[in-house]
């Protein structure tokens, strides 16, 4: 079966190198998943804090009223030499990607990454055993594996 998913306009998606962290935040700004990669793996707490702060920036972006209805929110802020990019679904679930400022990153790559996260999140919701209203962190190994594959250094 094939389903229509949001696809980036880039024919060959390239993903950003050096993603430090991917965060999924629920509609009540509750963290659903905070996953760190590579060198950042031992600094979970710092990324929890980053994600929390970024939610304020997301709210600010919303209030400043971007009527375009685009899900991709762009670069939200730069904290402690980390770039935080945001993306919000219509159901107010937010995805955040954190990349160190030292890594050169193209907007299109970040958008492609968000599409993958969104796709993985949709599949997670398809699991009847997952409760979308739960405020617990996401336990699904399959979801984590997909994010892991995304954040792994791109084989170029």
């Amino acid at each position: 079966m094939s389903y229509s998913r949001p696809t980036s306009t880039i024919p060959v998606p390239r993903y950003p190198n050096g993603i430090a962290c991917i965060a999924v935040v629920g509609k009540q700004n509750n963290p659903l998943l905070i996953q760190t990669f590579g060198n950042a793996a031992d600094q979970e707490l710092k990324y929890h804090y980053l994600a929390h702060m970024s939610c304020d920036y997301v709210d600010e972006k919303l209030r400043s009223g971007s009527k375009s209805g685009d899900l991709y929110l762009g670069l939200l802020c730069t904290i402690e030499s980390q770039n935080v990019y945001g993306y919000m679904t219509n159901t107010r679930v937010k995805f955040l990607i954190v990349i160190p400022t030292t890594v050169p990153t193209k907007d299109s790559e970040v958008k492609a990454a968000f599409d993958v996260i969104h796709s993985a999140y949709i599949d997670l919701l398809g699991n009847p055993f997952y409760d979308p209203d739960s405020t617990q962190m996401v336990a699904s190994p399959r979801f984590r594996v997909r994010l892991q594959t995304l954040a792994a250094p791109a084989a170029s």
């Binding site: 009847p128 055993f129 997952y130 399959r142």
Partner: protein, 209 residues
Amino acid sequence: MAKTLKTLGEDVWRTKVEKVNGELFALTYGSIVTQLCRDFNNNYAKVNAQLDKMGYNMGMRLIEEFLARSQLGRCRDFRDTAETVAKVAFKMFLNISPAVTNVAPDAKAFSLVFDENPLAEFVELPEAARRRAVGSAAGPVENGDAMASAPAPLWFSNVLCGVVRGALEMVQLQVDARWVSDVLLGDECSEMRVTLIKVLEDEVPAGED
């Protein structure tokens, strides 16, 4: 003969069957299973039994539609039954073609190996549902109370066992159908074992010497 059945199955699927959206179908079945889990307080043995019962009731009715659309006559032997169930019946209702394997030497049992399962499209079982004790059984549960306390894994697609059992009973074949492995539980493949218990009529069963 097998080739004809395969073609027949594909034809019936293409021309005579109304289709429904696959996601809708998977989500509907998923909510049935999770609701049963909640109703039975995650007693997976009872959930398995209930799914089998539901399947049984469905199978009893589906057989009529199957016979009407496929226009097939009697199967010559149980091996023929296996091929028909796999190539025509599953194709017609679920658009999948499980493989018939492990046919017993006396042809009284066979296995259906599923390489895809539209019921379990996005499913990931919670940890507790995957735990199994030695020799925990799927399919019809004889002694419901005794089984209730034994830890059993959740056989997510157990409704299919009931459907096979119910449908074959209506054509005078009493069978036992149960899952022996399931990819959702981490196994290599999803395999259903169907065993003929007895033929239900007095007349000479087709294919027996």
